[in-house]
């Protein structure tokens, strides 16, 4: 058959097709990967930015709470509060203090023979 010249077109080389396909896939894959990676970087950056904002809010809120707490601990503020609530708190007289003596230190055990 081949001799009469009717089927003279060269057979398609499978290897070539596969090579072309793989090369295309590689190029397309690399492109898609690049875009996917860029998207991921962008998304992570957005998340990071949002978390930084949240962190700043928490930091500011924490500062405010810390300040309020310190205001409440002021000796003057405490005195005023005691007066306001009419708790009648005064420093205890020495006779009203009960002291527990420290236990005496134990003598070291005698050394063995």
């Amino acid at each position: 058959m081949a001799r009469d010249g009717k089927d003279s077109t060269p057979p398609v080389a499978v290897r070539t097709v596969v090579k072309a396909f793989l090369l295309s896939a590689l190029i397309i894959g690399a492109g898609l990967g690049y875009v996917w990676q860029k998207n991921l970087v962008f998304e992570l950056a957005q998340q990071r930015s949002a978390r930084e904002v949240t962190l700043r809010h928490w930091r500011d809120a924490n500062d405010k709470l810390r300040w309020d707490y310190q205001q409440m601990l002021r000796p003057k503020a405490l005195e005023e509060r005691v007066r306001e609530l009419k708790l009648g708190l005064v420093a205890p007289a020495p006779g009203q203090l009960l002291r527990l003596p420290e236990p005496a230190a134990e003598a070291p055990a005698p050394a063995g023979p």
Binding site: K64, Q70, P75, L89, P94, L100, E102
Partner: protein
């Protein structure tokens, strides 16, 4: 076949295209090669930004961790007047109450100001600072107010340009400086202001811009400024046309390192007790100023320190120089009779006299080197102990004469006079020691004249007697902590020197106990449940004829195992009853402070109902020589 005309036309097109491409090629080479460096730098400047990341300034805390000074991050609110159009007045009306600013003044700031650039073009200003140190919640309110700015176009659909204008007005016209600023706050206001000091605002410029800076100017804030400031970080980042950061293009991001926290030996409660007592006494005695200190004699730890008038470091705008003066270390004065402890301790230590030796006090008048010395009340023979108890000038002068100049001079210096105590506070003065002794110096100095000392020196000298003769260095800062609260550096107590022997110190304590008795000069300092040892001082101020007084009392308790040493001083007391002596005006303040401090620190009484029975074996040691614990007993009515 092409005719010649067609061929010419083709050539013309080829030449024109060639010229065009050559032009483009030249432009390309010009931009990409010849001007590459300049243009690259310009692009970088336009798109990039270097942000300084501020570290948080360290806190100052007391011995129990209560915050005495802290920092909060705040904003600097700015505006771009060019984006406001003709809405400047309206914007000022909206945000002036939120920023607590005058509306007219704000309106003026927001009004665009045209100015001519170097190239002759007239432009309006694009940046103006509206207010520094704005708390984050206030900025949030301003931001919310601006984003809700109403559109004035209601009857028709706004054009694209109008939409862009309102977007810029709402979101970009008022903005905050991306670099954080800090606000230094002192939760307790006046409390311990002379120790804490204050900070000042400054600006720091570098090649990338101008930044806010706070710097310690006085007190601990100034002395440990570098340790508390921390280390700045930075961020190199890109931004878009709306000034928003493009986080994904950050090039460098170095986090700041926060400053160290400073742990003081002060106790907030004891400081409060001292300041309340001093304020009360100031109202009553009307002195020019009043000051006081509380110290642990065994370690030199300063538990409280106050000089009135003082200031509120949160509001420095109306503070006077008088208020800023920490008189305990910056002023020196003739100490008066408290100085007798130096001469008598020295004489006892040198075995020149004994407590029981008799001194003739000349019935209150003693002529020496052409000068007549007086006692406040006449005494005949007094023991050395009696000289201290009655505070006899003549007795002290005669002991000084026995000591002679070299010994007296040495003991004065050994007790720490004439040199700074090395307390960690600025502007400490060493006091004045006599350089040229005159004939009467030897009788003048033992009674506290002719020598000038600071209150802190006097207190440390008294502390040395309470501490078995060992002079301690005053300790104000005992630790530095990192941001996580871990101790980075600890400063242990430091003994300066053994001034007198332990035996001499013990004898002095016995003698000083008698001062706080009915026969002594400071019976008003006596406490019900503790034995107090101390010494009064009433110095006439120079010129002596003016009859102005400097009254003081330095004492400690429990006398035989001292936990606390307290010093109280008043300059020119104007008591309604005419009282001016240390034992009259300062001793009661000492007692008031001492009783509250004893109760707060749970110091075991050494006499009265709770005192240990004699010969009852080893005495309980609660509250003695240990870190004080809060009172665990229920507070009763």
């Amino acid at each position: 076949m092409s005719n010649p005309v067609q061929i010419r036309r083709r050539w013309l097109i080829v030449i024109l295209l060639g010229m065009a491409y050559s032009g483009l090629a030249y432009r390309l080479v010009d931009l990409q090669v010849l001007r590459r460096a300049n243009l690259q730098a310009e692009v970088w400047t336009n798109t990039h930004r270097i942000l300084q990341l501020e570290p948080r300034r360290g806190d100052i805390v007391d011995s129990r961790g209560n915050v005495l000074a802290t920092s909060t991050f705040v904003k600097t609110v700015c505006a771009d007047p060019a984006l406001l159009g003709d809405h400047a007045a309206e914007v000022a009306h909206r945000i002036a109450p939120l920023l607590d600013m005058n509306e007219a003044e704000l309106g003026l700031k927001l009004t665009p100001r045209p100015h001519e650039r170097e190239d002759g073009q007239t432009v309006t200003n694009r940046f103006v600072v509206l207010k520094h140190k704005v708390p984050p919640d206030v900025w949030q309110a301003v931001h919310d107010s601006m984003t809700n700015f109403p559109s004035h176009i209601v009857d028709r659909k706004p054009t694209k340009a109008e939409k862009a204008f309102y977007h810029g007005l709402r979101y970009s016209a008022i903005f905050v400086d991306p670099s954080d600023d800090q606000l230094r706050s002192y939760p307790n206001g006046h409390l311990a202001s002379h120790i804490l000091g204050y900070v000042g605002d400054g600006e720091r410029k570098d090649s990338h811009g101008t930044y806010h800076d706070i710097k310690g100017l006085e007190g601990i804030e100034a002395m440990l400024d570098q340790r508390m400031s921390g280390t700045r970080g930075w961020r190199v980042t890109e931004r878009d046309g709306y000034r928003r950061e493009r986080v994904e293009y950050r090039e460098e991001n170095v986090e700041p390192r926060d400053g160290l926290h400073v742990g003081l030996t002060l106790d907030l409660v004891i400081q409060g007790i001292l300041e309340s007592a001093l304020a009360e006494a100031k109202d009553k005695e009307k002195p020019a100023y009043i000051s006081g200190m509380v110290m642990r004699p065994k370690t030199g730890e300063i538990l409280a320190m106050c000089s009135l008038p003082d200031f509120d470091p949160n509001h420095m705008e109306h503070t006077t120089a008088d208020q800023l003066r920490n008189r305990l270390i910056m002023d020196y004065h003739e100490p008066g009779s408290t100085f007798k402890i130096v001469v008598i301790a020295g004489a006892l230590n040198e075995n020149l006299v004994h407590l029981t030796d008799h001194i003739n006090c000349e019935n209150g008048h003693f002529l020496y080197a052409g000068r007549i010395l007086h006692d406040s009340s006449p005494h005949g023979d007094l023991t050395v102990e009696g000289v201290l108890m009655k505070s006899s000038n003549i007795g002290a002068a005669k002991i000084g004469m026995i000591m002679e100049r070299p010994r007296l001079d040495r003991y004065m210096r050994d007790f720490g006079f004439g040199a700074p105590t090395s307390i960690l506070l600025p502007h400490e003065t060493p006091g004045l020691m006599p350089r040229n002794w005159t004939k009467d110096s030897i009788v003048q100095i033992p009674m506290g004249q002719g020598v000038s000392v600071t209150s802190l020196q006097m207190m440390m000298a008294m502390g040395a007697l309470a501490n078995k003769g060992v002079l301690m260095r005053p300790l104000l800062v005992d630790r530095l902590l990192d941001a996580g609260g871990n101790v980075v550096t600890r400063f242990p107590p430091v003994a300066a020197r053994q001034v007198v022997s332990e035996a001499t110190a013990k004898l002095m304590v016995e003698a000083l106990k008698t001062v706080v008795t009915k026969e002594g000069t400071a019976v008003r300092a006596a406490m019900e449940n503790y034995t107090v040892a101390g010494k009064t001082g009433t110095a006439q101020k120079v010129p002596y004829a003016a009859h102005k007084w400097y009254a003081s009392f330095a004492g400690f308790f429990p006398a035989d195992n001292p936990e606390v040493c307290i010093y109280i001083a008043m300059d020119e007391p104007h008591d309604p009853a005419g009282l001016h002596q240390g034992g009259q005006v300062c001793a009661p303040v000492f007692k008031q402070v001492a009783e509250k401090v004893a109760s707060y620190l749970n110091i075991k009484p050494d006499r009265g109902m709770d005192a240990p029975a004699p010969a009852a074996g080893p005495a309980p040691v609660a509250g003695q020589g240990k870190t004080p614990q809060p009172i665990k007993t229920a507070m009763l009515r």
